[in-house]
């Protein structure tokens, strides 16, 4: 399939500038990665509402919390690794527990960070954030979904984690796409099986469904961009109507979106499930696409896992 590509980080940075004009209470923090996270666009436009804290993510999360106590809408951005791993306790104690209006928008999540290797490839961030009470967790799939997500979270109060990739990603949506927090998007209907994907695995899920169609298998494709609160209704409905589920995410298979889906079907309507994701190992250096290939984050693997799910059902 031929995709057009664009970068979610650009969508974030430029949308933030537009929102900054509309909302004077938006302030932005960064930890020496403002060009990487694209918050430098905001800095250029609103220097008085932007602070670069230097290489000090823990301090950044505390400052974010303090700003939020005064009614500011605070964006704190850095790499996913440092936002959720390095500063976990600060996010927990100073942001999630007091339910402060801080938007943690992290980039460079997952294996597609590429050459930087395991130290920077964050596969545990969804796990860490989804177990925090009060925290909303969102993983946009492409440029336009990122735009819509950033706009939505400004309009809703409370702690939020948004995860973005480093690489350009296939453009699935356009400007007309409507995103709602907690509402999954049904991309194509199907009766035989369901593929639930998030982030940059969504385009691969769409391609996998096309492959399966050639074999006469009708796969439903769902974009689970809000991991928390999870759209449990759409998951239960898919389990009832298609009888089998495959999840696909660029995250450890443990405790990520696939686990969240599995929790729902185990309790509501147990059906066979397979989870495509990083198999509980640390990553390594390489090109993004070859790493996706090496760790099974492929169209081929989604197709294979779908066949397995259908076999389990027989």
């Amino acid at each position: 399939m031929k995709w057009k590509y664009a970068n979610m980080r650009d969508a974030f940075g430029k949308t933030l500038v537009e929102l900054g004009k509309k909302y004077p209470q938006i302030v932005v923090l960064n930890a020496d990665l403002s060009s990487s996270t694209r918050t430098h666009y905001f800095e250029k436009e609103f220097p008085e509402r932007f602070w670069n804290v230097g290489v000090a993510e823990q301090n950044m999360m505390g400052i974010a919390a303090g700003l939020a106590t005064t009614g500011k809408i605070v964006f704190a951005s850095t790499f996913a690794m440092f936002a959720t791993g390095r500063a976990y306790d600060q996010v927990r104690q100073s942001i999630a527990y007091p339910a402060l209006n801080v938007k943690i928008v992290a980039s460079h999540a997952g294996i597609t960070v590429g050459g930087d290797g395991a130290s920077h490839q964050m596969h545990e961030d969804i796990a860490l954030m989804r177990v925090l009470p009060n925290m909303t967790v969102i993983v946009p799939a492409d440029f336009y979904e990122t735009r819509k997500v950033i706009t939505s979270i400004v309009e809703t109060g409370g702690p939020t984690y948004v995860r973005m990739a480093r690489t350009d990603t296939p453009m699935i949506y356009d400007e007309d796409y409507v995103f709602r927090i907690g509402k999954a998007d049904l991309l194509s209907d199907g009766d035989d099986v369901t593929i639930v994907a998030m982030g940059l695995m969504l385009s691969k899920a769409i391609e996998a469904a096309d492959e399966l169609k050639k074999e006469g298998i009708s796969a439903r494709v769902i974009n689970m961009s809000t991991v928390k609160p999870l759209d449990d209704k759409i998951v239960e409905k898919a389990a009832r109507e298609t009888g089998g589920i495959v999840t696909a995410e660029e995250h450890n298979v443990l405790m990520g979106m696939g686990s969240a889906v599995a929790e729902v079907i185990a309790e509501r309507y147990p059906v066979p499930i397979k989870r495509v994701g990083i198999p509980d190992v640390f990553g390594e250096s390489g090109e993004s696409e070859e790493l996706m290939e090496a760790y099974g984050l492929t169209v081929k693997n989604i197709v294979e896992q779908t066949r397995l799910v259908m076999k389990m059902r027989e």
């Binding site: 230097g54 505390g62 303090g66 106590t69 005064t70 009614g71 104690q93 007091p98």
Partner: protein
């Protein structure tokens, strides 16, 4: 915005009144922790004089309007001293003093460590050490951005200064010359396990903060005149944040608790409480 009190005026009448309030707060600290069966009386007794000075003389605040936008803020970064903060907030009128005896009990508004969502007058939820100075910075930045003249006070422990985040924050506040921020280190020289200088020394504190761009003042944290003069000096410094190194005695006010490590996190028995209250001049009236 409103005028600040000239709190160095009329000290001969003010100080005895503050001493009386601190004495009452000490009794409440001991009573509520004994009633709860757990809590941190030692570090509450060392910091309580500074809290009394802040809430009854220095800070601009209104118990009838706890979320007043122009109020001075206080972040109790050493959140385990919650009993001291609760006693002072109750006495200031944020909630009834009788409620203090619900400390740490199921369903209470008075959690073991402060929660801004539950307790009127608490400006930030704390408990995990080392985080409050960063939060105070965020409040101070917002004050400058919005051209509000409130001041932000952050209370740290000396043991807490072993946390790396304290120094990340100190570096930022110094760099940005946040003169509306004032930190107090309750330097009681004991931490949970042993004397701080036996575990990992944090001294000398004043030169450390000065090297990070702060104005540092060293005081006896149980002398109200010194406390009030330090806060006044801090207000006058217009080009940098101020840290007050408040030398205190852990367990201050009760002879058998003073300087004793174990009272960091251990309340008195009912018998000890009786003896302590007698030393303090009898139960709360």
């Amino acid at each position: 915005m409103s005028q600040r009190l000239d709190y160095l005026k009329d000290l001969e009448n003010v100080i005895p009144d503050l001493e009386k309030k601190a004495n009452r707060a000490r009794k409440w600290i001991l009573k509520m922790t004994t009633e709860a069966g757990s809590g941190h009386p030692g570090g509450s007794l060392s910091v309580v004089d500074v809290l009394v000075a802040l809430y009854f003389r220095v800070m601009r605040h209104n118990p009838l309007n706890p979320r007043w936008e122009d109020r001075d803020r206080l972040v109790l970064s050493k959140g385990h001293a919650a009993p001291a903060l609760y006693a002072v907030l109750a006495m200031a009128g944020y909630f009834p003093e009788e409620e203090l005896m619900t400390l740490r009990k199921l369903g209470t508004r008075l959690q073991g460590h402060p929660s801004m969502r539950l307790t009127p007058g608490v400006d930030m939820s704390t408990g995990s050490l080392g985080q409050g100075l960063s939060v105070g910075i965020g409040m101070a930045l917002a004050g400058k951005l919005d051209r509000r003249d409130y001041r932000v006070y952050v209370l740290l422990g000396d043991g807490e200064c072993q946390e790396g985040q304290v120094w990340e924050a100190a570096m930022f506040a110094g760099h940005h010359r946040l003169e509306n921020l004032c930190a107090v280190v309750d330097n009681n020289k004991l931490q949970l396990d042993a004397p701080t200088d036996k575990i990992v020394s944090v001294e000398p504190l004043a030169p450390k903060f000065e090297a990070f761009g702060w104005n540092a003042i060293v005081i006896n944290g149980h002398d109200f005149k010194e406390i009030l003069m330090a806060f006044r000096e801090a207000e006058k410094v217009r080009d940098r944040p101020t840290v007050i190194i408040s030398n205190t005695i852990k367990g201050k006010g009760v002879s058998f608790m003073e300087g004793v490590v174990k009272y960091h996190g251990k309340p008195l028995t009912p018998e000890q409480l009786k003896a302590a209250l007698e030393e303090l001049g009898g139960d709360v009236e």
